[in-house]
């Protein structure tokens, strides 16, 4: 069975590392992390506010809709 790489292995790990490959990898990682940062800032900000509001009001904030098939 062929070994299946994780997405992080595929894009984070460079085994030959020419100057161009290193630059490509860094650019990919930067864009990936920026996307995560953006998610934390926007969606995360909303979730953190909802969590705080639910705690204040003594109710439960349902998370099923996050990440699609969570309730699968």
């Amino acid at each position: 069975m062929a070994r299946q790489q994780t997405s992080s292995e595929k894009y984070f790990r460079v085994y030959k590392a020419t100057w161009w490959q290193r630059r490509q990898r860094d650019w990919w990682v930067f864009r990936y992390l920026f996307r995560i940062f953006w998610l934390w800032f926007t969606v995360g900000g909303k979730l953190r506010r909802e969590k705080r509001r639910a705690a204040r009001e003594g109710r439960v904030f349902y998370i099923d809709h996050i990440a699609g098939g969570g309730s699968g």
């Binding site: 299946q4 994780t6 997405s7 085994y15 990682v29 990936y32 995560i36 099923d64 990440a67 969570g70």
Partner: protein, 334 residues
């Protein structure tokens, strides 16, 4: 007796599933299963194969990641940025290793020089890894990285959890450096730490870094449970270490500290059958909501008597001596 610096957070969670995932976390983890099978992903996942959305607790995982406070999230981002150096090109022809014990000593000295506290070597064991996952290496250099105890006493509050992320970040960098050193010897090596689809604990136990405790985490003689794991996988031939018996079971059988201090009551009093092995296990379905609510909890790790600085060696000595005396007394009675 360890006293945490702040009282724990309440278990009244302001979030939850309206419809719980169709299978429980304990079922996915194989609780009660007497047949030996490899584990499957349930929570943290980096997207191998099926991908993040297919993991049953993906929504909770996403909620955990996106609600982490900024200092934790920032440390996490820095850790991910550092991970791009986990692999790299091998320089030159592989050196010939005639004395594997000497090579193991060299690698361990190098790790100690990098500030890595615990280093032991074991064969890479595919059977301990998740289904469908394999790594093309023969050996695993297992490493334990101590956390700042004073900061960790703030768990389950932000300050303690930030220390966990800081340790993960710095340990990733240390593991990367060790892997890079091995590559200069002409042998491929890759570092693995937080956020990878690798299961470290069984190999750490095999390597003799410590034993599994009642709280489902590793206990070492040196730092108790106050440390985090990373590993370097490689083909560089090295002498292997053996598992250790420091007397963890002897204490865990009677000690109730982690059980009584666990706010959601997730710690079992007895070993459970999990995927064909009877071992200490933490109730995933009880633990995970508190873990998410507090951004990592870790109360059980810090209240564990083994985690008190300087206590482990003495405790181990006492427990093993007591066991020996008990055995002798039993033999005499027979």
């Amino acid at each position: 007796m360890t006293k945490l610096k702040k009282p724990p957070v309440s278990t009244d969670y302001p979030f939850g599933y309206k419809t719980m995932p169709t299978t429980t976390g304990n079922e996915i983890n194989g609780l009660g299963l007497r047949e030996k099978v490899r584990p499957t992903q349930v929570f943290h996942n980096t997207g191998r194969g099926a991908g993040r959305k297919e993991v049953p607790y993906a929504a909770l995982d996403m909620f955990f990641n996106l609600t982490n406070p900024w200092p934790m999230f920032w440390e996490n981002l820095k850790g991910w940025w550092a991970r791009r150096h986990a692999a790299g090109p091998v320089t030159g022809e592989p050196i010939e290793v005639e004395d594997e014990a000497a090579m193991a000593r060299t690698v361990k000295d190098q790790a100690h020089a990098l500030g890595i506290d615990l280093v032991r070597i074991t064969p890479y064991d595919e059977e301990t890894q998740m289904q469908g996952i394999s790594f093309p290496y023969k050996y695993a250099i297992m490493m334990g990285h101590k956390m700042d105890r004073e900061e960790m006493l703030y768990v389950p509050h932000k300050r303690g959890c930030v220390e966990v992320m800081k340790t993960y970040r710095s340990s990733s960098q240390q593991a990367n450096t060790l892997a890079a050193y091995i590559r200069t010897l002409g042998w491929q090596a890759e570092a693995y730490g937080i956020g990878e689809d690798i299961i470290l604990m069984p190999m750490a136990i095999n390597a003799g870094l410590g034993q599994l405790g009642k709280h489902g985490s590793l206990i070492s003689k040196e730092h108790g449970s106050n440390f985090r794991l990373t590993c370097v996988l490689t083909d560089l031939p090295m002498a292997l270490d053996a598992p250790v018996d420091i007397g963890v079971d002897d204490l865990c059988m009677s000690c109730q500290r982690c059980r009584t201090d666990c706010p959601p009551g997730a710690i079992f009093d007895e070993k459970q059958w999990v995927r064909g092995v009877k071992k200490w296990y933490v109730d995933f379905d009880k633990c995970i909501f508190y873990f998410t609510h507090t951004h990592g909890c870790a109360i059980c790790l810090e209240v564990c008597p083994w985690s008190e600085p300087g206590r482990g060696a003495l405790l181990s000595e006492k427990l093993l001596a007591k066991r020996k005396t008990g055995k002798a007394a039993a033999a005499a009675a027979e």
